[in-house]
Amino acid sequence: MASNEAAAVELTAHADHFVDAAHERRAAQFGMWLFLANEILLFGPLFTAFALYRYLYRDTFAYLSAVHLDWKLGTVNTVVLLVSSFTVVVAGWAARCRRSIWVGHALIATIVLAGGFLVVKYFEYTHKFHEGLLPGKYFTLDLAHDVALHMESLREMGLNPAQMRIGPGASMFFALYFLITGLHGLHVVIGMGVLGWMAVRAYRGEFAVRNDTPVELSGLYWHLVDLIWIFVYPTLYLL
């Protein structure tokens, strides 16, 4: 086929200041990793703030996490994100094999999973709004009453409310909860946009005739979103 030659040219196309396509690809990968390092430092302060306030208000945080965050939803979301990470790996693998349509399918699966993640998040958020579990001045839960209500379930969890200092820092927990999950959710949304764009390009058949660097880079970004959630899950939902 005549297009084979054109494809070969496309596959090895590279910007003028690079030696060849592999050289350009290495640079792109490295650039992406630097960007990811920068993203890690973006989330770092939020986790630091969480660590600090968890140290200061340990009992309050333990209580709120155990009683007011739904570990089931958190776990479901963890599983959803892990699976979506896998589908992105599938997309990358298909791109390396030049199966552009399969790249599209895998990315659509990823976006659907991400949508599921956001739906779960939506239910979590509305529940919190409803109960008044909000940051700072919007925090309206009556804690003493709340503790009395959950006495039994606390004992079941092995916590002894009589020995806990529950109270101070309660609104702080939700400030951090909304900041961390909100920023993470924003990344999910951006990631969906990027992967959607890649899926469109994949269905156009671009990755059969172009190198797969864009798929790999957007996949790296998506994995980072997953990576951050791997830390969010135990810190917010379990500890």
Binding site: F18, N38, G44, P135, K137
Partner: protein, 548 residues
């Protein structure tokens, strides 16, 4: 040095290979982007400098004279923000780094030219937005915007935070670009042991830009959340910790001092090497010290919190680490001085500026060491001593290095030579004015005058008067320097390709360079600044190329 008689202005160069406004606004050429940055940061410098003169004028009298307290507070906020975020941070990396990093690597461009252009426009957008937000919102928090003052103040701090976030993004992208460029686009033969020291320093700077800047971004976000939504993260009434803000803020803002100083050190290394005609003494030590400053510099931020309610234990850790940064700097100073030894020293404007840089760095660095001694800091913290110290380092030495870079690379960038005599007298004004401005401020700090004072006790007046007079001499020198360079741009003598007979890699091409920097692909056979014997055969073809 007088330009060689045979000097000619090349027919084709990166200014005229394409023409028209759009060819500049949409250019991907790192040299043109660098020049656009040049214009932007010099505008910021002039703005910040005029604000500084306003501040000094107000402080001429102990009583309020020119402006009221509120206006004064806005003035120093604006001065700090403009100088730190809009001038100092991008000054040397974005202008000279952009221009010379690819040339020193023998590359045609930076790794991601589009990202480079994007980072320029992000910078401009962020800068304009920040300025608008500060002026429109009447922000008076100082550039450190400490909580809870900034979160309870009635003025609109949140948009400024957004502006800083945007400017920060620009420096992240520039840093990322530089790191990738340094790793992937080195010419054949240019191994890590042959990198010019300017490149080493830009590399260290870029690490800081990439890894520290996101932190100020998130801090800006937290403060905005606090102001707009009342999240209460730093609000003691809700159990928040105001000191956490200071920790996070200085996690960015201390390393960013090295974003300003490291490139300056790089420039001075190049200048010393050229005008002493030697590779810098102890090249490896200098490279290691550069990375040392970049990495250890991340973990000294707590010395801004010695009296802020930080624990004694943390103070000890940060105290020791601060000393280590001092050691790295001392190593550099020794090495620069030793570069003169058995060299062939030529006194020119860039060399004079590099010497003045050394003077300011030693002075500022030593006072910095004194400040890092914890018990002494208790007295000096937040006084004019600190003001004088960081102006010595960040303005004195960095400004000297910036001017040294301008004067050293001016012939390479524009192909013309400034008047040595006018430039030297301007530099003399700057040096004298600078000392007169800030030495009295050290003494004011010793007396105990706190910073950010709109009015002061009469006992502080004599030193303040001296400082104000110095500031005007400094300003005069700066404008003289600016006019000398502007004049040279049009009427200066043709410089020739290498008027300083430097053996830095960036001189291996015409002045001004062609669009893709070099006429022939570069092959590096020797370390930079090897002045042993005659110059190595350079692969540069002396033919003026047209547009390819």
């Amino acid at each position: 040095m007088s330009p060689a008689e045979s000097a000619h202005f090349p027919r084709w160069h990166f200014f005229n290979q394409t023409t028209g406004v759009m060819s500049w606004l949409t250019t991907l050429d790192h040299k043109r982007i660098a020049l656009m940055y040049f214009g932007a940061v010099v505008s910021a410098l002039i703005l910040g400098g005029l604000l500084a003169l306003g501040i000094r004028l107000e402080l001429f009298n102990p009583e309020p004279s020119l402006v009221d307290a509120q206006t004064y507070n806005r003035l120093f906020t604006l001065h700090g923000m403009v100088m730190v975020f809009l001038f100092m941070v991008p000054a040397i990396p974005a202008v000279f780094g952009n221009f010379f990093l690819p040339m020193m690597l023998g590359a045609k461009d930076v790794a991601f030219p589009r990202l480079n252009l994007a980072s320029f426009y992000i910078y401009v957008t962020g800068a304009l937005f920040t300025l608008w937000a500060i002026v429109h919102g009447g922000v008076d928090t100082g550039w450190t915007f400490y909580v809870p003052y900034s979160t309870t103040s009635v003025v609109a701090v949140a948009p400024v935070m957004l502006g800083i976030f945007i400017v920060g993004l620009s420096s992240i992208l520039t840093g990322l670009n530089f790191i990738v460029t340094t790793h992937t686009l080195r010419a054949p033969g240019l191994n890590w042991g042959r990198l010019p020291l300017f490149v080493w320093n830009l590399y260290g700077t870029s690490i800081i830009s990439v890894l520290a800047t996101p932190v100020i971004g998130i801090v800006a976000l937290l403060v905005a959340a606090e102001i707009i939504f009342g999240f209460g993260l730093f609000d003691p009434a809700r159990g928040g910790d105001p000191v956490l803000f200071q920790h996070l803020f200085w996690f960015y803002s201390h390393p960013v001092v090295y974003v300003m100083v490291l490139p300056a050190m790089g420039v001075v290394s190049e200048v010393f090497a050229t005008f002493c005609r030697r590779q810098i003494f102890g090249y490896k030590m200098l490279a290691v010290a550069t990375l040392g400053i970049a990495l250890v510099g991340f973990f000294v931020w707590g010395h801004h919190l010695f009296v802020a309610g930080q624990s004694t234990f943390d103070a000890g850790i940060f105290g020791v680490l601060s000393m280590l940064v001092g050691v790295f700097t001392a190593i550099k100073v020794f090495n620069w001085v030793m570069t003169l030894y058995k060299g062939a020293v030529d006194f020119t404007v860039p060399f004079a500026l590099a010497c003045f840089f050394l003077y300011f760095l030693i002075f500022g660095g030593m006072t910095g060491i004194a400040l890092a001694v914890i018990s002494l800091d208790v007295h000096w913290h937040d006084t004019y001593y600190v003001v004088a110290h960081f102006h010595f380092v960040m303005v004195g030495s960095v400004m000297m290095a910036f001017l040294a870079a301008v004067h050293y690379w001016f012939p390479k960038m524009f192909g013309r030579m400034y008047s040595e005599r006018v430039a030297l007298s301007a530099v003399a004004f700057i040096f004298i004015g600078f000392n007169l401005t800030f030495v009295p401020q050290f003494l004011l700090g010793n007396m105990g005058m706190p910073r950010r004072y709109h009015q002061y006790l009469p006992m502080f007046q004599s030193l303040n008067v001296a400082s104000t007079m110095g500031a005007f001499i400094l300003g005069l020198g700066m404008f003289l320097s600016l006019f000398a360079l502007l004049w040279a741009l049009k009427w200066g003598a043709v410089a020739g390709d290498n008027p300083f007979h430097s053996r830095g890699y960036e001189w291996n091409t015409a002045s001004p360079p062609v669009q893709h920097n070099f006429h022939t692909p570069q092959v590096i056979v020797d370390g930079p600044h090897n002045y042993e014997g005659p110059p190595a055969a350079q692969p540069t073809a002396k033919v003026a190329h047209g547009v390819e």
